[in-house]
Amino acid sequence: MSSKLVTLLVIVLGVLAVAQLVRLYELSSKLRNRREEDITNRDNKLNANLLLVFMFAFYGLFLYLMAEYGWTGRGDAATVHGVETDWLLNLNFGIIFAIFFLTNTLLFVFAWKYVKKPGVKAYFYPHNNKLELIWTVVPASVLTVIIILGLKTWNDVTGDSSKESIKVELFSKQFDWTARYAGQDNILGKFDYKLTTQENELALVTSATLDSAIKYMEFGKADSTVMGIKLLESKLNNPKNMFIPEDREKMEVDLDRKTRLLRLLYQMKARHNAKLDANAYDDLIQKDTLHLVVNKEYELSFRAKDVIHSAYFLHLRSQMNTVPGLTTKMKFIPTVTTKEMRERRNDPKFNYVLMCNKICGGAHYKMKMIVVIDSPAQYKAWLKSKTTFKDEFHKAPAAPASTTDAPADSTQMAKI
């Protein structure tokens, strides 16, 4: 407390001191008959020189930062297109460094050189069409090069992936990532968010998951922490139950919603083509770590469960937002295994990473997934250890602690 008082006192005294100094300065100006708008030659010179000093300090800072941190953290690109975009980035950096140094130097040097000198009048020079044409055409032609090269690369990066590309889906939610591999057939099974249950977090569509979603909607969780339609109805219909109006309304809204969702589930079931089950059954679901094999093309598709996230692979020079209700896609070919990159960076603990790069809530900064780029042999070994969705779904225990329903924040109440 006392320290705060002292701070306050110091501030007040400081302001008073400055005020007195300013008064003193003003009185002396008055005595010397100097007005605020008349900048003395001394002040003018001083500021002109300071501008030049500032320019050198600024360039010094820039060069120091470049030398010290220029490529730290970023390192070599680990994908085919990443090498291409890095080349382009360096080229563009070359161009903008040139512009930066040229124009800033002209600015500060002119400011320094043409400071007011007694007796020297400014040169009346209102326009010159030739000069203006030059600095319209020159930037335009430089930009033409930048645009053409940029768009060529952009088309390569965003073009369709080849048929053989390995299909992987990344599923994002507050605040983690889940990967799904397309399995033997290399076709990702269909999904529909309404099928989300604790055994089927990614909401894949199969005959069995449909049934289980319907059952879940009707009966809720076995421990009735989440009420199904039946339980809600019986509670609301029982005349012996007394509810405060807000609770009753909440339950009624919940019941209505679930009834409508249930109808949609039945419609889906009626239209479901059981032949498609196989696409989903052989999918592999993977949390925590994303395993990729080196030198194979990947087609990644993205989903979001709750809000927009962004899948940002810094070292693979790839990024794509994940959008609720929309499947987004991108492709890349990893070229450097994790092991090799660790050697290159001389950092045995280095890992590739997938970060969330779109604000998505309080723990946004923690939402990441380690990415491992394997050699073909390592990748094969890892694949062997995985079980298919079919096996996982059918062996799912009765009621494990569910992560699907884990509230994202402490303020949640209603459950599925």
């Binding site: 007005r35 003018n44 563009n92 930066f100 009048k121 400014a122 326009h127 890992n351």
Partner: protein
């Protein structure tokens, strides 16, 4: 006094048919319809909002530099609710970031910059008695004031202010289950912005009408100072783009309150399965950035206009390429409407559409380059006087260059992929938009303070303020490029997560974050010089003369003491463009616009 001797137009004879009726305190200082007073009201409100936003940034910078360490400063301002034990809460971090951005972009740099100087200078530089509608002008300010108050209130609600970033992308901003700030805080944000937009629209329409209709005799469009050109185009941009933000906000409000699905589809949040289906967050992003990008130029153009005027005056030279400057303002204004997609390269928007936006965006570099080179040529062979305003104007040109060139990288979609939404972007727009616009605003305040308050600011304090600000601000935003190139996403609460996968990046980011925060604190403390100088000089500054900077434009022909209607006699008549500085054959190195062309004299 020389200003008056030049003025041989002889309107002094027609004195005093404006009787100086006594105005009440309320009609003079509060519900004033006088454009000069409204301009000052905008300025003071914006300065207050700017200080709040700056304080918010210091709060979250402390967290970024020393994550997880207890801070008395944080606990003093945020208390146990938001900084228990002096450690910032994750959610409040997002709240601070969001409100900092919102206030800076809209309240300081839109309301403050365009509101202050359009109001002050449009009538004065065009030779008009007041705005086209003084009443609407007053409404415009009061809507701005109310919206400021509501935005402030939102900082104090129990669930916190809006926390979805200043761009408030849904679904995060639509669902209170996703983040607590999307409850009442977001509602207040939307209400505040709705009022802000209404105020801004009324103001802009007023500016446009005034520029088109109330120019004095002889003030053709091509004799208008570049300031007025900039305000004029800014107002047009505002009128065309702000309604789109309003529609985005209204649709968001409907999704939040009326159960519609404009932006929501297939969502499970906080364990609750929502029924919304068929909406698209991309729709919101398109609507938002249709405002959001012109907004950048709404912020920037007035600053460029002010600095054009200040640079010409203090270099004692005509602005080089006056018509090219107008052309580039118009070109920038037009292009700003067809580039919004460059904010959306990696949102899932069709890549072909992305390539169109690459093309249009990079085109903007051409008029921007023209402006920069014209500024440089204006300085060349000038006779430069470094007033504080001039220093800030030169600072603006530097930041416009430094921030502008990195835009070339970001506009190139292929390169944007790897740096989108990183600190590289934060560095880019803080330098090119934040620093430039703030420098423009400071330049304007230093230059036109005598016109606003009839007194002079202290020049030496102005110098000190400039040097602390430019060193501090570059010190904050320049290193951010390197944090960004290392791939640090923006809006992260704690960058020590890097320690889990990359030691080198981790060390670099943590080091640079400390440096950035130290510079931020220095720059923030430096603003105290300005605040002191401003308020001290309002009351105690030395009295100003009529034309302290020996400038050509009409505002310097008005008396120092404000009168209703600006000119005591007849309105001045304009005979020449505003940039006849150091014209050969003239006695003085400036010629007021009211001076008729001499025998055989050519108009530039």
């Amino acid at each position: 006094m020389s200003a008056l001797t030049h003025d041989n137009h002889g309107h002094h004879s027609a004195h005093d048919h404006h009787d100086h009726h006594e105005e009440s305190f309320v009609s003079k200082y509060i519900f004033s319809q006088d454009h000069k007073m409204i301009g000052k009201q905008f300025l003071i409100t914006a300065i207050f909002m700017g200080l709040v936003a700056m304080l918010l940034s210091i709060l979250f910078r402390i967290q970024l530099a020393w994550p997880g360490e207890s801070s008395d400063f944080l606990s003093f301002f945020l208390g146990e609710t938001w900084a228990p034990g002096g450690i910032l809460k994750e959610n409040m971090y997002l709240g601070l970031v969001t409100i900092h951005g919102t206030i800076m972009v809209f309240f300081l740099l839109t309301g403050g910059l365009s509101g202050t100087f359009s109001n002050l200078l449009i009538p004065l530089q065009l030779g008009a008695r007041d705005m086209a509608s003084g009443f609407l002008n007053m409404i415009s300010y009061w809507l701005f004031a109310i919206s400021s108050v509501i935005m402030m209130i939102s900082l104090f609600v129990e669930t916190g202010p809006a926390m979805a970033g200043w761009t408030i992308y849904p679904p995060l901003s639509a669902l209170p289950q996703a983040v607590e700030g999307s409850g009442l805080g977001m509602t207040l944000w939307l209400v505040s912005m709705t009022l802000f937009i209404a105020g801004s629209l009324i103001g802009s329409l007023n500016y446009i009408v005034t520029v088109l209709n109330l120019r004095t005799k002889g003030m053709s469009m091509t004799r208008m100072p570049l300031t007025v050109w900039a305000f004029f185009v800014t107002a047009i941009l505002g009128v065309l783009s702000f309604p789109v933000l309003l529609s985005a906000a209204v649709l968001l409000m409907m999704d939040r309150l009326a159960g519609t699905s404009f932006y929501l589809s297939d969502i499970i949040v906080g364990g609750e399965m929502l029924e919304n289906h068929g909406g698209s967050p991309l729709l919101y992003e398109h609507l938002f950035w249709f405002l959001g990008h012109p907004e950048v130029y709404i912020v920037l153009l007035p600053a460029l206009g002010l600095s054009s005027e200040i640079i010409a005056t203090n270099a004692r030279k005509p602005i080089f390429g006056y018509r090219a400057m107008i052309g580039s303002i118009l070109a920038i204004g037009f292009l700003s409407f067809i580039v919004w997609g460059h904010h959306m390269f990696v949102t899932g928007m069709n890549p072909f559409l992305g390539s169109v936006f690459v093309f249009t965006t990079l085109l903007i570099a051409i008029p921007s380059a023209v402006k920069v080179f014209n500024y440089l040529t204006t300085l060349w062979k000038g006779s430069i006087i470094f007033t504080p305003a001039m220093l800030f104007a030169i600072g603006l040109v530097s930041t416009f260059i430094t921030g502008g060139v990195t835009g070339i990288i970001l506009a190139d979609s292929a390169l944007d992929i790897a740096i989108h939404d990183t600190y590289f972007v934060v560095a880019h727009f803080h330098i090119v938009m934040g620093m430039s616009a703030v420098f423009g605003m400071f330049a304007g305040v230093y230059h036109w303070f005598p016109k606003m308050y009839g007194r002079m600011l202290n020049t030496r304090l102005g110098f000190a303020h400039f040097w602390v600000t430019i060193v501090g601000a570059y010190g904050v935003f320049f290193p951010m490029h390197f944090v960004g190139i290392a791939g640090a996403p923006r809006r992260y609460y704690d960058y020590s997560v890097y320690g889990e996968f990359d030691t080198n990046s981790y060390e670099m980011i943590m080091d640079l974050n400390v440096i950035i925060t130290v510079f931020a604190i220095i720059a923030a403390i430096g603003q105290a010089i300005f605040i002191f100088n401003f308020f001290y000089s309002v009351y105690r500054g030395p009295k100003a003369v009529q034309n302290p900077w020996k400038s050509n434009t009409l505002e310097w022909t008005t008396p120092v003491e404000h009168v209703h209607g600006n000119w005591p006699g007849a309105l001045p008549e304009v005979h020449r463009w505003p940039y006849d500085y150091s014209k050969p054959g003239m006695d003085e190195d400036y010629v007021l616009q009211t001076v008729p062309l001499g025998e055989g004299e050519e108009e530039h």
